[in-house]
Amino acid sequence: MSTATAVPVAPAGALDVQAIRRDFPVLAQRVHGKPLCYLDNAASSQRPQCVIDAVSDYYETSHANVHRGVHALSQKATDLFEGAREKVRRFIGARSTREIIFVRGTTEAVNLVAQSYARPRLQGGDEILVSRLEHHANIVPWQMVCQQTGASLKVVPMTRSGELDFDAFRSLLTDRTRLLALTHVSNALGTIVPVERFIAEAKRRGVPVLLDGAQAAPHLRVDVRALDCDFYGFSGHKMCGPTGIGVLYGRESLLAAMPPWQGGGDMILEVTFERTTYNDLPYKFEAGTPHIAGAIGLGAAIDYLETLGLDRIAAAEHDLLEYATARLAGIPGLEIVGTAPHKAAVVSFTLRGVHPHDIGTILDTEGVAIRTGHHCAMPVMDFYGVPATARASFAFYNTRDEVDRLVSALHVAQEMLG
């Protein structure tokens, strides 16, 4: 089914950020007359030329439908598509490509597990455990399945620093807990959740674990076997890949026992009006023509990230985080929201006297793109008693100079409205 590919070797030493920036055509533009300073990577990253080329090359030279035709192009498209699946498998350390389901993104990954894994198993009185840190995409699908089955949603509380309360988590694990759905990295605050501890405890109680890896996959090395999680979802567009493509990793034994969640082409072996035989994994969960170009682009993004080296990416981003945290903390009236000791390169903050929405507009006119609002994590905002925060989120192609521009733009906002 898959051909093994070699892991690209990352050169030693630190990243050459200026060279990397030239890989990203979008970064060269000016916004409102100022060089673009893109600090909204937690919402969506940018794409290097090699990803853009992989997608356009595919359409220019190789497109046909996959898994169907005997003709040359169909085979070429299938090889590229399945080659991308193998790259994903290797990227997250899965045992088999049968465990790699292409989906639209993390949201669809969570919904698939909620509807196909959880829904048939849940009964009234059962419990699904999530955390206070979750993105709405790891809350709402569980609320929906709870409404459908009579199960209830339990929430692991968070602490003032933006960490999860492990002791409270342990007391929330009960004989009725059927699944733990946990974020790997908080999108709103950047907290890196020590998921290994949570998974180990859940496993001890026989509770399967889904991780929302949307914010983790682009920034730290993910190994689903080492994590020992049962499901792991992530999105292509947050890791330099195309929009509309993402991955659900699932432990094969669980996936095999799950019913399909959508019916259509590609997910069947045989159809009569009396009965349908479903296809094998992973195709059982990929009804309809998939996002072939998206998968190929995601494969190219993985190649790119691995060439740079995930460890070096994490180191570069950690440097930006520390620098940004120190610079921002020096602004009078600025309060950083989320101060966990282990964080991805995300800094959420409020500025006295200036609403986050105004910060966003003022920074935009300075060419600085950040996210303002609730970050699809309203329970986190409620916890801190704020309607919104401003959030700067960094990628390996950002620089300390850009942090300085962020700080200067915040001074402009303070002068104007503070």
Binding site: H355, D358, T365, P387
Partner: protein, 148 residues
């Protein structure tokens, strides 16, 4: 795009010191406005003397544009009749959303300061929230208003 066109002195002043920013326990009408995406949230209170708006106030939190717009609204509709306020709502809607709106900006007085918002499409809903909320209050609409 010029920031000073958005954050004019009148806007900055009304954001820092919002007028008629108080609850009104004996209000005849009130309505809530909420923009979930940015978190702007306000409650608008209206006291009526027949057809005339004898008092109007608001409470809530939001960005400078939404707070200043609500503050300016209270100053401008107090004393007007309900049909006059509704006409003003239509005028403000046109001012905020149409490039070539046939609006005599100077005649709007301080409200004219909001004309710069049009150049910032993402912020139009901030400025219009209070007007939609007033409309809901005058029409006894019970559902919270959203402009997103």
């Amino acid at each position: 795009m010029d920031l000073n066109d958005l954050y004019r002195d009148v806007i900055v002043d009304h954001n820092r010191n919002p007028r008629n920013f108080r609850p009104m326990p004996d209000a005849d009408r009130h309505a809530e406005g909420f923009n979930p995406l940015c978190g702007d949230r306000l409650t608008l209170f209206v006291k009526l003397d027949g057809d005339r708006i004898s008092d109007v106030s608001f409470q809530g939190s939001g960005c400078a544009i939404s707070v200043a717009s609500a503050s300016l609204l209270t100053e401008s509709v107090k004393g007007r009749t309900v049909p006059e306020a509704e006409r003003l709502f239509a005028t403000m809607h046109a001012l905020l959303t149409q490039d070539d709106a046939p609006v005599d900006v100077p005649s709007l007085g301080k409200l004219g300061a909001l004309s710069g918002v049009r150049e910032f499409p993402a912020r139009v809903k901030c400025a219009s929230l209070c007007w939609h909320t007033l409309d809901a209050a005058l029409h006894r609409q019970s559902e919270p208003v959203k402009t997103e």
